[in-house]
Amino acid sequence: MESFQLTANKLKEEYKNNKIKPQDTVRALFKHIDEVEPKVKAFAHLDQNEIANNVGANGRSPLQLSGIPVAIKDNICVKDQLTTCASKILAGFKPPYDATVIEKLKNAGAILFGKTNMDEFAFGSSCENSCYYPTRNPWDTSRIPGGSSGGSAAAVAADETIMALGSDTGGSIRQPAGLCGVVGLKPTYGRVSRYGLIAFASSLDQIGPITKDVSDSALLMNVISGHDERDTTSADVAVPDYTKSLVKDVKGLKIGVPKEYFVEGIDPEVKTAIEKSIKVLTGLGAKCEEVSLPHTEYAVSVYYIVATAEASSNLGRFDGIRYGYRADENKSMISMVAATRGEGFGQEAKRRIILGTFALSSGYYDAYYLKAQKVRTLIKNDFDQAFRKFDCIITPTSPTAAFKIGEKVSDPLSMYLSDIFTISVNLAGIPAMSVPCGFTKNNLPIGMQIMAKPFDEETIFRVAFTYEQNTQWHLQKPKL
């Protein structure tokens, strides 16, 4: 295997044994990127010279990510590097500070490896809403990679980086990870600092790792997790060493399988793959039972009120005054702001700003926003109840494998419904991971979602690691 195809853990071993140096990895990655990136388009910004000039670490330092390339989603601030959320309204924006996760990566010796493409402001499930270009699925370049962290997932799947960071508001790490056949974790709300993550929906957003396997996910989580006083919603809860949860043991573990996730609209191939995967785990001693999450059918509705309401407020800051794009309109400040926003935001951003503003507007607040917040409570209660009996819950990550580029762009509702299995997790604030669990007849990856109670990422790692060690799916590579 070539160095650019290795996992971070394997690469660390190679560095330690002096087999290769970080410079070699970076050089091999660039060569590979030159070949495949024109087909995949995973990156929004990648300055090869700057990266090459900054590969300082010798790889043999004891730092956790010494010499490991990590690609960063374009909505996470990296000091003096373009950070645009794939939006025209942030054209040219170079943050004057690092996000907390970026500081942590730098302190751990990681090589910051470019900014990955995404749906504008993380609004989307297909990576088609980028102001640059759509990213393509490495398994079939006529298909979407998922979104919104589609660039990060595609880059990891196509071996264009060793690891990546994404962000997840309604499935934006797990869904693209599932559709690209890689591992994506949305941590518990508050586990990872949001400082420097350009906000979409503040009560739902979390940064998390997208990696080639479960062990790399644990490694990256060890680096990025923890309380941060600069994010007042970050949780002051001790962070365990996640690599200690990488044990092959699910004996006696209680798995709940929610019946509401196996209804109409789910692709029979996806259903079969999940059923087989659960059999792998029960074969290893786990116990599996049906569970009910009765308010599941309301999750998409709640989400598209809560998330758009928060987004309409968060995106108020893009006004052409302090950063980014400004329209050529000088009549008054208000007309300049309105023109800037009208010209700077893409269609999906406009759709969500209008919907969110409407839901918060006088006369509709109680009927939509407050109602949605109340049903959110019921969705959260469903999970609280389920986790009294079960250690984890297993579902498909998405109802289907990757769809074709252009297939859903003109029908927002059908696009929104593709997140139907991932959204509840954000509303309830719990952690969940997507792991590769099979392929369709057309050779498209299928993802299995493992959920656990708040701050119990350890159970997810244990289940996912055990499953991975007993299957081969994560070792498959797309042919590009």
Binding site: S301, A338, I354, L355, K374, L378
Partner: protein, 95 residues
Amino acid sequence: MKFDKTTVEYASKLARMKLSDEEMAHLSSQLADVLKYIEKLNKVDTSKVEPTSHVLPIKNVFREDKVKKSLDAGDALKNAPGKEGAFFKVPRIIE
């Protein structure tokens, strides 16, 4: 509830976001569909349910009243499309 072009126009004013006639027509028909779907929430009895705004028990976070290093004016202005001296520059505010 009727969601039409007038609703979109009103929301776009509140959001300070200029939309073309075409965009307003397009958004109103798409969002009317989305809202129709969302209205299924009305089937749920929430008369005895408290709203959730945050999943974690969020409380006020205080810190010592000590001056810390913060962004200097030059860095804060670096990305501004219009600036003059140590200020952001905007078109006139009073019409």
